[in-house]
Symmetry: D2
Subunit: 396 residues, 4 copies
């Protein structure tokens, strides 16, 4: 499926994403069936130039600093393929975080990302504490395993999150080449959805970490500007959810217009004139519009909060996270509704595997379980009612 | 309840509305029980200066031309009192429409509105065709009856919509003093909600209409800029719905925090810590946020469409109306959910009449029936799926 | 409104209830507006003979021992008037409980109930611990106050629940004449719904209780047959909820068929042919049918459980209560949906106070708050998932 | 997977089904992935003796005449495998219909069904009119194609529904051996759900039909007892839906209890104690109970209606069909909710393909599209509101 997209660097990244999304859509059904590793997809991203999206211009990147814009691009890709949305979202989360590194690290990693057109992934699942980092001389060693390392196998560089033997609560992050000795990407991802993310586990057998590969956050770990960060990752998911829902909605419309048959007692000639089908389309549209407004609004809010840097207050962090959680709650629910109900708008024959319409639900259902929505809703309520800010976790 | 608000004309109208809303809230329960005519409420509006909101500055008005801002003010008033929201919304719909009148009419009506601090109402229900206008010499006569004339009794001037005997499809509009001979406001409004709108019928017994009191639209009746107009009135309703829902949400929060008791098997000390109550608050908040975003977005969209004037295309009109219908669908549903579910967050004792918490549901339930939501959803679906624009009616 | 119903005692009580319900419907709107005490309603019940429904035949009662049948009668009355449903339900809960009294008490209270056609009410709200009972010589004295004593003012005899000064956890029950010295029914019920239940508080100023007026349960307080009892009271509520919902559904249908107008763009002549209105009626019917099946099933289940007497196991009690909670959950939700959505089926004009269609929602919304539904759902889940039986409270 | 079940013919068929369901569950995930033809499953049914369930005892069958019992068995099988539920349901629909055949036909087909342990399938999709039957001498010939012939490939005998060239409205039915010359089962079923039904199309190339293979209904085609018949097929689907939902609910419970992890901010040790998870289980249970009651009730109703034979009135037919549609509406919605929401109760890791939890949703989503639910709801509404009976179609 690799097709040289040959885009001028000057082109609008969103337009590039729209083109790329259309390319990806052509093979998405087939790739979903195959599962396996997203080599082709990452190669497409590489050729499109989008991997450099959030790398500063001074290092040769596209220099996009607006998350609202980045989210739109992620959403666009997710319309065709939820897995690509997730992979690309994570990549940007990592490259954009480089700005918190030391100037030397920024130079090193940014320049290499541009030069080699690196794809970044992570091995940092916060609920899995089995990966331990230990000092050894002037460097460190990683030992253990990390589950759910989305895209690790096809990545060039891996952001690793580990704990020390003595303190399981503080996570230490390091960026190392995926090819480093002792690092093995296992083959244990075979899921009902997001099948092409290859979120397998990664084993570390005394893997070397150089001292300058470790990322020390520039602010205290409980500073609002630091604890705000989980919100960016959450909003990546939101935009993938939304993209999936918008994607299937567009496909369903096309099917209803061209292929669905009017029901025998409906009194209309075409399914697209059926009063109930029109009503369903109206309802789903309303939900999708609301989800998009909330996602866009949350993006603006968290971007503005982030721009305050260390001056960000705990209250402002809470407001921003709650905006993200609000968008997440809504996108999850609308997404599940849309991926379910479109079948009532297309009809029975649309369940043939050749259309692959179930992949949207499988992708969304899988990815919306990342962390439990109920506790996001709880956190919203606790902020709205009691002004209790979301607890500081890797998810809030 | 009349209290001189004594606001400097230079104050932000939204702040005036916030103050006024707090004043109105103090007596809203009592006024709802009484029903009857909103004399006090209109007097409050008069004293606040807000009746001049959308009258151009050149005639002494506040010169507000932004509907997004006007809608915010309407919403603010509706938080305390849905009836006032509706009355004030209608007033602005009429005063803002003066800009389509002849320069002479604009001068006459605008100046008088400012000088006498007029409150405008209408007798123009489009589904009631019993009011007939007939030429008589160089003037006209109105004969018949018009139902649901919100606020007519307390109005200074009435925008009347009538049909000629020969053509029941074209509505003719005229602005006449409410005190004109032969015009009688009946006393037949006693409803379960929006009780202080006094939406009684008005009888016309050969009521004189001068030729220069008739408003001739400057564009053909099927021009998109003309058929867009119903959207402004629809969005007034949306903002009243939203205000009601936001109003009761705030009141419920206060009650839960201060008065609700924790349930005996909940394991928490205070109702505000109950996991289910927090979850409900979270869910309602999500809905309210989405409703607000859609309403704000629709306001921007229709304002921008309107600004195109006669250049507005049919497609742009459809887009704007569909944005309004989308906001209406959502606000209706969220509003009904909020006005229902807050009782589960406050508890049994909050059903005492002294709190009047049912008035929010009664007001919203009543006003959301103005025209059937199902056909708004149908129209959205027909636009989204088939690019069939909403039919031209007084409601779309 | 009192009309002598003059029913032969041999007539089917359900038919009597159907007739009585139709009588009550004629004045229900007016009585709801008035509020106040249900003197007329109780007089109607008295004349109908239904107050003797569950009094054993040996004492001259109708001897109904089937709660499934009693619930059908309660539901029938609630169709016309939720307040009457609640009053009559409570009365039966008390008269049916006499079978747990001593033979002497049974003789005394049953015979008097038949002879004087007594209406029973209670002063036993379990969440209000302010009423204290103290021994004084060979009798007892009640001191304090009890809130929410539905129907107490118009009752002949009152089942009082009090605690001793030393032990606030054990409730002691006694049946005393409402006319007893020192007992005052206050006038503090003015609620948004169930307005004619007169659920005012009752004050007790050293009120005498004879020793033989105290009801000592024949089984240990934690015996499943005893802790099952709350289920009967819960199911009374369920049937009132269901009756209210079925009542408004019937009224709405009649309105739609005779009065509602077809919408201008619907393409049909009559509202009753509108595809969306038909769809709504279909949906509400589905919900009502499900609610009725669950309520009927729960009645059978708890009746069968109760018939096991002291042999009832903790598991059987849990099964029966969970059936009741299941019915309650469903009836609450369907009821709220029906009482809300019927307005979309009748249209705007049906909000006139003369129709009083909002009273169904107000009644249901009020009465469904009796105890929080969330904890019923929690208890269902805990039984289904973990085999943890509902905790023993006055509500479960 | 074939295991000799070796059940005595005297055993309760429901118990046989429960055992068989447990057997099928062991391989269901694997078979769903493979797709293909249900040879093993039909062999299991054959060995279990259940294929003779509704064949009269006089011919050696089990003689079950109660559809309520048959539906329970179908539901039981569907708990493990929706495809088997559908296949077995269809088989019973055909064998039970033999009682409408001529005595000679009954003797022939029933005896052969028992002797050869036949599995019946059909080629009778009513929306596909491409299969034509023509007289040829003293026999007939079939020519054309029929889509969606569930289980045809593995069937012994096929009930074919065709139209004559002159009259496309009257369907003619005949039962022929699947092995007959000219009959080809194509290989065009590859769907997202109900994958092991092998609902491929069947081509007919001048296939012989003997005169005595044609089934002539004993009553006029518009007799209520005839037009009631579609209800039995509809209720098969309902019970398959319900079985699928109950099946996944049981599996999810087991997973939550044994495998799910408590969320980090939940404050509980085990997921099964999480207040939100308990609440979700409670809610889903309520829905499943309601669905089961409605399905059981509809089974009783249609069985009783059918027992009236030619005396069945149009009104009684409508009541029975509406009961079936009510059950269908509810089972569809609850089923979709359960198959979606169980993932929130099990958590992210439960999306691994090894668990195959998505197959329940894929099966249900596919099969619930058989004919559009909206028109079932429409028909319910039209009966409830207007006493307009469901139109006579192959689906109502």
């Amino acid at each position: 499926m690799v097709q040289l997209l040959d885009k001028a660097i000057s082109q609008d990244p969103l337009e590039i994403a729209i083109d790329l999304s259309q390319e990806l859509a052509k093979t998405a059904v087939e790739r979903d069936i195959q599962g396996g590793s997203p080599r082709d997809e990452i190669e497409c991203l590489r050729q499109s130039g989008l991997l450099k999206l959030m790398v500063p211009k001074q290092y040769g990147g596209l220099g996009e600093t607006s998350w609202p814009k980045a989210y739109r691009i992620i959403r666009e890709l997710a319309k065709a393929d939820g897995s690509v949305g997730q992979l690309f979202g994570n990549h940007n989360n990592l490259t954009s975080a480089l700005k918190s590194a030391t100037p030397k690290q920024q130079q090193k990693y940014c320049a290499a990302t541009v030069e080699h057109n690196w794809f970044w992934a992570n091995a940092a699942n916060a609920r899995d504490l089995r990966l331990v980092i230990q000092p050894e001389g002037d460097h460190f060693r990683l030992k253990g395993i990390k589950s759910f390392c989305t895209g690790a196998r096809v990545s060039d560089v891996l952001m690793v999150g580990a704990v020390s033997e003595k303190d399981a609560t503080t996570r230490i992050f390091a960026a190392i080449p995926t090819s480093r000795e002792g690092l093995t990407v296992n083959d244990d991802w075979d899921n009902m959805g997001q099948r092409r993310t290859d979120s397998s586990s990664v084993s570390f057998d005394h893997v070397l970490v150089e001292a300058d590969e470790i990322f020390v956050p520039p602010y205290p770990p409980d500073a609002p500007i630091v604890t705000l960060r989980s919100g960016f990752a959450q909003l990546i998911k939101v935009n993938v959810y939304l993209g999936i829902a918008q994607g299937v909605f567009a496909v369903a419309q096309d099917y209803t217009r061209t292929t669905s048959r009017a029901w025998m007692t409906s009194g209309v000639d075409k399914a697209a004139q059926d009063p109930y089908i029109l009503h369903h389309y109206g309802e789903l549209w309303v939900g999708l519009q609301a989800a998009a407004k909330l996602a866009d609004d949350a993006a603006q809010t968290i971007q503005a909060a982030s721009a305050k840097g260390p001056a960000l207050t705990a209250e402002e962090r809470a407001d921003a996270l709650v905006a993200v959680f609000t968008a997440k709650t809504f996108a999850t629910r609308v997404g599940l509704e849309v991926t379910n109900r479109i079948f009532e708008l297309t009809g029975s024959r649309a369940t043939a595997k050749t259309y692959g319409l179930d992949r949207y639900w499988r992708d969304l259902r899988t990815f919306t379980l990342h962390d439990p929505l109920d506790y996001k809703i709880h956190d919203i309520g606790n902020w709205v009612l009691n002004r209790q800010a979301p607890p500081v976790t890797a998810y809030s």
